[in-house]
C-alpha cells in the first residue's frame, strides 16, 4: 500500500483524513499512484492532472523523502521508502496567491 498525503482542499473534497492508502498494481510511479487514487476517490479525477492531457496541474507538486519529484517523468519508479510504506507520497498545493 502506498501512503499518500493530500492537500487540505482535496481532503475535504474526498472526505478523508490527511493521509490515505492506495493499492497500486505493479511498479509504483506517479502515474500509477494517481491512477489508483482517482479509482479509489473518483471525485479527485481531474484535480491533480488535466483530465484530458493527464499533465500535472502547474500548481500541484509531488514530494517524497524530502525531494521534489514534480518534474520526474510520470512513469519514473517512486523511491523505495515510498514503495515500502516507510515514507508517504506528498501531494502539495504549491504556495502561491493568498
Amino acid at each position: 500500500m502506498i501512503r499518500v498525503v493530500l492537500p487540505t482542499h482535496l481532503r475535504t473534497l474526498a472526505s478523508v483524513d490527511r493521509e490515505v492508502r492506495v493499492e497500486v498494481i505493479g511498479q509504483p510511479t506517479q502515474r500509477s499512484v494517481i491512477d489508483a487514487l482517482e479509482a479509489t476517490y473518483p471525485m479527485l479525477h481531474g484535480t491533480l492532472r488535466d483530465p484530458l492531457t493527464h499533465k500535472r496541474r502547474p500548481f500541484v507538486r509531488f514530494f517524497a523523502c524530502e525531494d521534489d519529484l514534480s518534474h520526474e517523468l510520470p512513469d519514473t519508479p517512486l523511491p523505495d521508502a515510498v514503495v515500502s510504506g516507510d515514507e508517504p507520497f506528498f501531494i502539495v498545493g504549491a504556495m502561491a496567491g493568498g
Binding site: H9, L13, L48, P51
Partner: protein
C-alpha cells in the same frame, strides 16, 4: 407560504440564503466548497431542489457539483470539458493566434423543462451541454465554428462565455454573450449560430461597429417578451426589440454607462435595473455611492435607488452574474458585491437592506422563488 432561496457564489465558497415570503429574516448557510472559487450556483426551474455549482481553483482545476436536495448535500459530477475536434486558435491579447484552452465554467443554465439538461458557458469561450445531470458534457461546436471564432479576443477577465439565455417560448433559440466577442444567436437548438451585434459601437476596437469584438458584459430578458433584450456593455446600456437583430443605446441619463450587472423586473418587462460603475480602471461606484438605477421605461430614463444602500465611502463592484430577481408579487431584487455584501429589496428596489455583509467577494447571485 412562498419562500425565497438565494444562491451565492463567492471567491471562497458557496452560500445559501433563505427567507419566507416576507424577506425580512434570513438564514445564512455555508460555506460549501470552502476555499474554492464558485463562479456560479443555480437551480433547475424544472426541479428547484436540483442545483448546479461551478467549483474551480487555480490549483486543482474545475469541478461541477450537483445537489438534489436544495443545497443540503452535494456530489461532484462530470468535469471533462473537451473542445470538439481540433480546437484551433483565437486571438490573444496581443493579436497573435492562441490555442483554445479550457480554464473554467463561468455560467450554468439549466433547462426550463428537463432537470437533467444544463448548458455551461466556459472560458475559453465555448458552450457545452449535458443531458445527464452534469455527468458528461459535449460542446455545441457550431458556435466556435460559425466563422468568426478565430478573431475573438479575451477581455480583461478572460475570454469567457458568461451569459446564456434560452427563449422560454422557443427552446431552439438561444442567446449567448462572450467577452470580448459579442452576442450570438442560434435558432436551431445550437447547431448553427450567427453574431447579432448590429448597432453596438465600441471604442477601443479597430472597427468600432464591427460584427464581432464587442465587450458585452451581460444580457437580460423578460420571459414574457423574448424578443426584447437588454445589455450592459463595457460602455453603454443597450436594448434590442428584435431578438438582437439591431441594438439601440438606452443609457440615457445614467451617471456612467459602464457596469456589469443588468436585470429585468419579474412582472414589469419595461422595468430594468443596472448598477453604474466608474471605469475604465476604477471599477467602483461613482463618488463612493452605491446606487442601483431603475428605468420603468425600458431604458433612457433612469432613477437612482439609494434607500438602504451606502451613500459614502463605498468602493465595491457588482459583477456581471451577481444580480437577480424573485417572482413574488412584490418583486424582490438582489445583488452581491465584491465587498461581500448581498443586498435585497422586497419592494422592486425602492428600499434595500443587506442580507449578509461579510462574505468573500461575491461572483454570482441567483434567486429561487419556492412555493
Amino acid at each position: 407560504m412562498s419562500s425565497v432561496r438565494v444562491l451565492v457564489g463567492t471567491r471562497k465558497g458557496a452560500f445559501v440564503l433563505t427567507s419566507d415570503g416576507t424577506r425580512e429574516a434570513w438564514d445564512v448557510s455555508g460555506p460549501s466548497f470552502a476555499g474554492w472559487e464558485i463562479y456560479h450556483v443555480t437551480g433547475s426551474p424544472a426541479d428547484p431542489n436540483r442545483l448546479f455549482a461551478s467549483q474551480s481553483s487555480g490549483w486543482f482545476g474545475q469541478l461541477i457539483q450537483r445537489s438534489d436536495d436544495g443545497g443540503s448535500t452535494w456530489e461532484p459530477v462530470g468535469n471533462q470539458f473537451q473542445y470538439d475536434g481540433v480546437p484551433g486558435t483565437h486571438q490573444w491579447y496581443d493579436g497573435t493566434p492562441h490555442p483554445w484552452e479550457f480554464a473554467r465554467v463561468w455560467h450554468l443554465e439549466p433547462s426550463l423543462t428537463d432537470p437533467d439538461t444544463v448548458l455551461a458557458g466556459v472560458e475559453d469561450a465555448a458552450l457545452f451541454r449535458s443531458s445527464d445531470g452534469g455527468q458528461s458534457w459535449n460542446e455545441l461546436p457550431g458556435l466556435r465554428g460559425h466563422g468568426s471564432g478565430s478573431s475573438w479576443q479575451p477581455g480583461a477577465g478572460g475570454m469567457c462565455l458568461h451569459t446564456i439565455i434560452v427563449d422560454p417560448t422557443d427552446p431552439q433559440r438561444i442567446f449567448v454573450a462572450i467577452s470580448a466577442a459579442g452576442v450570438f444567436r442560434t435558432d436551431d437548438g445550437g447547431q448553427t449560430w450567427r453574431p447579432v451585434n448590429r448597432g453596438l459601437h465600441s471604442e477601443g476596437i479597430p472597427d468600432d461597429d464591427a460584427e464581432v469584438g464587442h465587450c458585452v458584459h451581460r444580457l437580460a430578458m423578460h420571459p414574457s417578451r423574448p424578443e426584447v433584450l437588454y445589455m450592459q456593455k463595457h460602455w453603454d446600456v443597450m436594448r434590442s426589440d428584435d431578438a438582437g437583430e439591431s441594438w439601440d443605446e438606452v443609457s440615457g441619463d445614467l451617471p456612467t454607462d459602464f457596469g456589469f450587472a443588468i436585470d429585468v423586473h419579474a412582472h414589469e418587462p419595461e422595468t430594468v435595473y443596472v448598477v453604474p460603475i466608474k471605469s475604465d480602471s476604477e471599477h467602483f461606484p461613482p463618488d463612493g455611492r452605491l446606487r442601483v438605477y431603475r428605468s420603468r421605461a425600458g431604458g433612457n430614463e433612469w432613477e437612482p435607488l439609494t434607500r438602504g444602500l451606502p451613500q459614502r465611502d463605498c468602493y465595491v463592484n457588482v459583477l456581471r452574474d451577481a444580480m437577480a430577481v424573485d417572482s413574488l408579487d412584490s418583486c424582490g431584487v438582489y445583488f452581491g458585491t465584491t465587498g461581500g455584501q448581498v443586498y435585497a429589496s422586497a419592494d422592486s428596489g425602492d428600499s434595500w437592506a443587506p442580507i449578509v455583509r461579510d462574505l468573500p467577494a461575491v461572483l454570482s447571485v441567483e434567486v429561487q422563488t419556492l412555493s
